[in-house]
Amino acid sequence: MNDVRTIEILLVEDNPGDIELTREAFIDGNIPHHINVARDGVEALEYLRRQGAYSSAVRPDIVLLDLNLPRKSGLEVLVELKADPQLRSIPIVVLTTSRDEQDIAHSYHAYANCYISKPVDFNEFMQVVRSLESFWLTIVRLPAKPA
């Protein structure tokens, strides 16, 4: 179904604990992947646009985006990405602790591909990341990367 190539993931998250937890959760799955991390909204956009230090960055297959970020919020990042013809085809998964109805509505309004509230419980969190992995990285056919 999928060619055996390494899936590129961009994790936009400022909390190192969450970064590590996400990494751990992906390790449990058996899909070859590579996680790149951007610690705030500005960094995420620079990464995706290959600006500054990220001139040689690899275009991600999927972006996991937290909403509560320093410098530029996740929602702003989302709006800018979906306005960029080059980048709008990359699936964006909003992965956040927020359960706020407003955040959910705003995210989908800005064309987020899906919205996931991080479960508080560790095991549930692991479960969710695994589901995410199996759906987006196994079931779903992602667009081919532009050359």
Binding site: G17, E24, K118, V120
Partner: protein
Amino acid sequence: MSADATRVLNASQPLPRSIQHWWLSLELSRKLDLAIGTVLLPLVLITASLGGIATNVRLKTDVAAQYRNTVFAVYELKIALLNIETGYRGYALSGNNRFLEPYRLGLRDSSKALERLKALKTFPQPVATLERAVVAYQAWVAANLETVKSGQSLPSDLQQVLLERGKERFDELRVNFESLNASALQGFTATRQEITGGIGWLASLPWAVFALIAVGALALRLALRRLILDPIRQLERAAQVLADGDGSIRLPVKSFDEMGKLSATFNQTAETLSTRTTELQRSNRDLEQFAYVASHDLQEPLRMVSSYTQLLGKRYAGKLDERADTYIHYATDGANRMQALIQDLLKYSRAGTRQAPLVAISATDVVSDVLRSFELTIQDGGSSVTVTELPEVLADRVQLSQIFQNLIGNALKFRREGVAHRVTISAAPDGDSPETAMWRFTVRDNGIGINAEYFERIFVIFQRLNTRESFAGSGIGLAICQRLVERHGGKIWLESTLGEGTAFHFTLQAVATPASLHPVHLSATKAAHP
């Protein structure tokens, strides 16, 4: 000069300021005294004048009686003089002694009548004149009688002279007493007319008094309404508004009397109440906000602690020594418990926020749903649950489920060893709250029971009566229940005997009056686990 000018100007106004002020600051009892006095005064005046009139009539009647007696006395005098004249003439003509009898009678009677006339003192001057004439006539008659010899008649020429002279004198006398008689009669008639004229209007007096009383009663009624009834009604309505929770109600303070003071005090009470309410609402909101923010913000770091201890356990269990495994276990357990506590705290603070508008909810449906979620617990514990017919109540569906979830959960949890566990859920109209129709729900069990000294404490957040090892739970369930029931306008309480069982009661507003809605048949309609 200028002061006078001002006074003149003020005089044209309906009520000078000073009088208005005097009236407004007058005590209510004084005002009522004044009002009653104003009504009574004309009646008192009428009564007093009636006394005067009565005295006057009595005096006038005496006067009239004197005039009447004068007329009688003059008449008696006239009869007596006629007797003298008759006797004298008969004797003079015949010399017969039998004519001397009327003569002597006339003499005596005329003197008596004269005495009476003098005693009456009605017409002193004419009476004196009359007396002189009578005395002169008597003397003349007596002198002429001397010339008559007993048993002999006078010569006819002398008879003729005597008779003519006598008639002349008598006629002179007649003029005197006729004029006196006329005066007396006139006096009598005039006095009688005065009396009749003075009391004629008395015939219309009852009507006048009746009209006065009617007008007075109306005026009193009006005064009572203005001074007491209207202010009391206004106060009653305002008190009702205040009782319904609107502290913004204020009464107009129209005077400084008791009613005015009462209105002012009422306003002060409403002011205090609304200030207190606002303060309380604010502090409550602050607390709720604090509880929410605190628990929400605590959750984030705790998620890290809990996740990483679990991750540690997952990755390194068995790889370190046994003690490390124990440490990891306690750390994970503690973190999990704290997470549960914070979840409960969040639930509790959410229970404080205002729910959706209350709608008619079938308690039977809610209880059925809740019991379904406890199916396993009921089976495992071998409990038998009985639900009687339950009514519809005004509630928020989610919150009502939370209440039953907690109470039924407790009833199922605190079982007694070695006893067939029974739980009953029932409802009855609540007689303690007559003004609003309420239903009282009861969740009863025959479990371990609660010592009466803890009845208050168990509703306090995080208060537990049993060790964690014997019964699980954070001690928040009843605190949430109490909060939710109170938010629904009800109250919650319990009866319990240690070692026999517990009954939790709570009240909720009925959709309609319980009695008219539902004759209560407490028949067991459902046994979840026979």
